[in-house]
């Protein structure tokens, strides 16, 4: 839940610049989606939303509509400056980007290849877990076994160091057995590495900050 790759859709419907507006709108309807990345030779060259397509074509009932749907090309109406995310971006960072740019869909690129798409509805679900990210402090991500008392154990060790916990959110970890959770702490210290050492000695796995 905490990174883009955990929330994005991996099966992405895409278009080519040469596809028509009619084909694109049909795809939106069929898949019940609003954002379609445009690929040319495997590279992301644009993105188009159902709204872009509608505003580029005459309204329902207009006699010119059918012709326009067949004539207007995706390459002519798509947005070329595409804002993207990476699979390992924190979900809150992606949400902030979408808010700032006033967009609702972020294609996800890994080494230049389209591997998913994250939409605002994907983010909404994750966001409720990530309140408080703008409080000053350092970010720590700790894997906690999914058992009673383990979060308290981690928090207690941090507290014993005289370090204040500014906020904490947790989400299920989608890998590894037995089931575990990732707890994201915002801690009021410049030196979370020290807390990370203490936690690792107590057999917790610390995902951030990175350990040497």
């Amino acid at each position: 839940m905490l990174q883009v790759k955990d929330s994005m859709a991996r099966e992405v419907a895409t278009l080519s610049p040469g596809d028509t507006a009619g084909e694109a709108l049909a795809l939106c309807r069929e898949r019940r989606i609003r954002h379609l990345p445009v690929l040319d030779g495997g590279s992301l060259v644009g993105i188009v939303s159902d709204r872009d397509l509608r505003s580029a074509t005459p309204a329902f009932g207009d006699s010119a509509r059918a012709a326009a749907l067949a004539e207007v090309r995706v390459g002519d109406v798509m947005v070329r400056e595409v804002v993207t995310a990476r699979p390992d971006d924190p979900i809150d960072a992606a949400a902030n980007t979408m808010r700032e740019k006033k967009i609702n869909g972020l294609p996800v690129l890994e080494e230049g290849e389209l591997v998913g798409i994250l939409t605002s509805s994907d983010v909404m679900e994750s966001l409720v877990y990530l309140l408080g990210a703008h409080e000053p402090g350092s970010r720590m991500e700790v894997v906690v076994p999914d058992r009673p008392g383990t979060l308290a154990g981690v928090a207690g060790l941090i507290g014993e160091l005289g370090v204040n916990i500014v906020s904490v959110v947790t989400g299920p970890r989608l890998e590894g057995e037995p089931p575990s959770r990732v707890a994201v702490f915002r801690v009021d210290t410049i030196n979370p590495a020290h807390a990370a050492d203490v936690l690792e000695k107590a057999d917790y796995t610390v995902l951030w900050p990175p350990r040497p």
């Binding site: 000053p136 005289g162 009021d188 410049i190 030196n191 900050p209």
Partner: protein, 386 residues
């Protein structure tokens, strides 16, 4: 043209530290000064002494109640529950004896360095105990109790009305304390390059923090991706800093030269080497001569690999400040004395070997992202500077 240089230091400045295993260890100052000395870089430069900052100096930017609290903490007469409200007595900023005096000395050192330069006694000055950029108006934060740069800037503004000061911070952490103190002030330009707050303390320093009110455009932030290397750090610096300073036309440049962006630093996740710590001072030196008659004051800052990184980085800083050639090798006498005490093997050369620091797997992507950040700063923030 170059001018005379001053180094402000005395051993009393080495009493600012939190003791024990705390990562902020003033031994790093001793290691640096002895390295400079053993290399002969201090031969023509007697140490300039300084007085502690007064309460009057400190309250230019700090709340008087806070200063009183620090004084009481150092005397052992304050309640921990009261101190915690001021960020004192935490794991980061534990109480130590006479902490007010030690902290006020650091501020006094930087203030003296600024005055030496503004009086024209020296073109450039360095005070490596300074650089405590996280200290807030009423709160200790991130190992910083009093904000030396903040006090020095505010005091100079009183002493020399109309002065324009550019503060350039290349510590791996955002220079938040200094930024907030002058967030609405168009006569103080703060430029901070740092690891993105999404991954590193204090969490601030996004591009959109660009000042407020009259000061819009005068807080410049360049958040860098984790694992940023020399190439990308330097090209981002070159894209932003000279243009920002040229637009601003300062009368004095005050630089915070924290060296915790080095790959070996245990507190951060950047991947710089000693190359960065030669480049940045050289670039600031040239800008000082181009823009403000050479007036440049350099401070230290973060730097937590105190054996392998700090002494070399800040010796390189001093070499730039004092226009001396940086020797290639560390002197045997220094290596012998400190090698016995160091828990890690000491480097024998002043410059890191690039072969020991190969590009990371995502170097290209990181560099592209930093480039985009620089473009955003150039587009959205720098045009606001008048």
């Amino acid at each position: 043209m170059t001018g005379k240089a001053a180094i402000v230091h005395d051993t009393a400045l080495e009493s600012y530290g939190f003791g024990g295993e705390h990562p902020f260890n003033p031994l790093r100052l001793r290691l640096t000064l002895e390295l400079c000395e053993n290399m002969g870089l201090l031969e023509d430069y007697p140490l300039t002494p300084s007085e502690p900052a007064t309460v009057r100096d400190l309250t230019t930017v700090h709340n008087l109640t806070y200063v009183r609290m620090v004084q009481e903490a150092g005397r052992g007469s304050a309640l921990l529950s009261d101190l915690l409200n001021y960020g004192i007595g935490t794991g980061d900023n534990p109480v130590f004896p006479d902490m007010h005096a030690a902290c006020a000395r650091v501020v006094g050192g930087v203030l003296e360095a600024c005055r030496v330069v503004m009086r024209g006694d020296a073109a450039h000055a360095m005070c490596i105990s300074g650089g405590l950029h996280h200290a807030l108006r009423s709160q200790a934060s991130g190992f910083c109790v009093y904000n030396d740069a903040g006090v020095a800037i505010a005091r100079l503004k009183e002493e020399r009305p109309g002065i324009r000061i550019a503060y350039v911070d290349t510590d791996a952490h955002h220079g938040d304390g200094v930024q907030w103190m002058f967030f609405e002030d168009p006569d103080v330009l703060t430029v901070s390059m740092h690891e993105s707050g999404r991954y590193l303390f204090p969490g601030t320093g996004e591009v959109h923090e660009k000042g407020s009110g009259e000061g819009v455009g005068y807080s410049v932030n360049v958040p860098l991706q984790p694992f940023t290397d020399d190439d990308s750090f330097i090209s981002t610096f070159e894209a932003v800093v000279p243009e920002a300073l040229r637009a601003f036309k300062p009368d004095l440049i005050l630089s915070q030269n924290g060296c915790d962006a080095h790959k070996l630093d245990p507190l951060t996740h950047l991947s710089a080497t000693t190359r960065l710590y030669e480049h940045v001072p050289a670039a600031i030196h040239d800008l000082a001569h181009e823009l403000c008659g050479g007036r440049w004051v350099a401070t230290g800052g973060g730097g937590y690999d105190i054996w392998r990184v700090v002494p070399r980085a800040w010796t390189a800083l001093w070499a730039a400040v004092s226009h001396q050639e940086l020797p290639e090798k560390l002197p045997e006498v220094w290596l012998e004395k400190w090698g016995a005490k160091s828990p890690v093997g000491l480097p024998r050369l002043m410059r890191d070997d690039p072969a020991d620091y190969p590009a990371g797997p995502r170097a290209r992507e990181i560099s592209d992202r930093n480039k985009r950040t620089a473009e955003e700063v150039l587009e959205k923030v720098l045009p606001l500077i008048r």
